[in-house]
Amino acid sequence: MAPGLKDIIESLIFVSLDPISLDKIKETLSDHPPAEVEQALQDLLQTTASAERGITIIQSGGGYVFTTRSEFDPWVRRFLKIDRKSKLSSASLETLSIVAYHQPITLSEISALRNVDSSYTIKTLLEKKLIKITGRKKSPGNPLIYRTTERFLAYFGLNSLDELPTEEEIARILGEDRTVEQAPKP
């Protein structure tokens, strides 16, 4: 392996504000064999993961990015004077996961699944750029259709939609609920 390849990749990740994809790294280092670049990246990830440093590299939104380690969150927030980051409301989260699992989807389909008018929530999610309009459905009224965005993936630390909670994970959660229900009465 070419010496320093690992360090070059580290510097690329450092200067990139958005997560930098493996393809992008390979493209930049086109004078090196792709396999070597991949190997160097893996080495880099391993070194940063084991190093006792304040920052680390995570894979998120389809690329690699520097983040602080979660245990330093309190100090970062103190420094930035942010009490806590605002989380999504449960209505937003509900709507968002419906879009994620059923995309492409229209507003009326979302509202039907939730049994709640979701136009306001959709507006909020659009503003937060967690979902986007991707066209109109060829059905009466030509309603707008929505999809989740790259930002949605990054927000939840996912690399692709395939990483959404799977049927099995969901079934497990539902199963846990059931065991709670079946717990003997006091």
């Binding site: 504000l17 958005d18 995570i58 998120s60 990015v65 520097f66 983040t67 602080t68 380690r69 979660s70 969150d73 970062v76 930035l80 004077k81 980051k85 605002s86 989380k87 999504l88 449960s90 209505a91 989260l93 509900e94 968002l96 996961s97 419906i98 994620a100 699992y101 699944l113 939730r114 049994n115 709640v116 008018d117 503003e127 927000y155 939840f156 630390g157 996912l158 959404l164 909670p165 994970e169 969901i170 959660i173 539902l174 609920d177 229900e181």
Partner: protein
């Protein structure tokens, strides 16, 4: 239903859940199904309808805006019950059940809820990680290529935007009033979250002409109060708005 006390005394052991905690009628239904330990695929409609109506009845008054959906679900439940009771000319075909539609909805909703709880954990985890993108590239006032805009530049941009807005064909008729004060708060809130606001984009997001005009006035007010700084990279270019750092520090 009416004998339920409106306000629980502190000594009262029985608990009361208010409707507000539920996102919607399905949420409430699922809660009741769990509470009653009912099999979701074989719901005793009479029992669940009674429980459900009890909950609605606890509300001191029906707020149509919010509770219309809850009332609609009550109607659906009663409809299903009536279908189950009414004699039929032809017996139901195998597998056909008036409850089917509701059950399908509940099962799907339950899955969504479970997915939500997983995503919520992920959100929590992600929110404790900080990447550099949350540190905004704070504008250095010394930077030569940034011009703090004058009122006239703003006005000019404003008129360009108004022309564009006017050209749009509005179909929405709304009776909502927008106050400058509220808009100012909205802009500040947006700035606190995003740190920098593309005013042109923000302006375009406004749904009506009226809202757009109000948002522009709000921006002027904020500049006047020296709470924000408006900067244009080039003339006739979009206007970027930042919170003034001094004002941030003061908070």
């Amino acid at each position: 239903m009416n004998d339920v006390p409106l306000r629980e005394t502190e000594t009262s052991v029985s608990y009361q859940v208010r409707l507000e905690v539920f996102e919607g009628p399905l949420d409430l239904l699922l809660f009741l199904i769990r509470k009653k330990k009912i099999d979701i695929h074989n719901i005793p409609i009479a029992v669940i309808t009674k429980e459900y109506l009890d909950y609605l009845g606890r509300e001191e008054q029906i707020n149509l805006d919010r509770e219309a959906e809850f009332v609609l679900m009550a109607a659906l439940l009663i409809h299903i019950k009536s279908q189950l009771l009414l004699p039929r000319e032809q017996p139901l075909a195998e597998g056909e059940d008036p409850r089917r539609f509701l059950v399908d909805q509940l099962v799907e909703f339950q899955k969504i809820k479970a997915a939500c709880s997983i995503l919520k954990e992920r959100e929590e985890e992600q929110l404790s990680l900080w990447t550099r993108e949350v540190l905004p590239p704070l504008p250095e006032p010394e930077e030569a290529d940034l011009v703090e805009v004058s009122l006239f530049d703003l006005a000019e941009t404003f008129f360009v935007l108004m022309k564009r807005k006017e050209a749009e064909n509005f179909r929405v008729v709304r009776g909502k009033n927008f106050s400058v004060e509220e808009k100012m708060k909205e802009i500040i809130a947006a700035l606190e979250k995003e740190s920098v606001l593309d005013f042109l984009e923000y302006f375009n997001r406004q749904e009506t002409l009226e809202e757009a005009v109000v948002s522009f006035f709000s921006l002027l007010e904020l500049i006047k109060a020296r709470l924000v700084m408006a900067v244009q990279e080039r003339l006739f270019h979009t206007i970027k708005v930042w919170l003034r750092r001094e004002s941030k520090a003061r908070q």
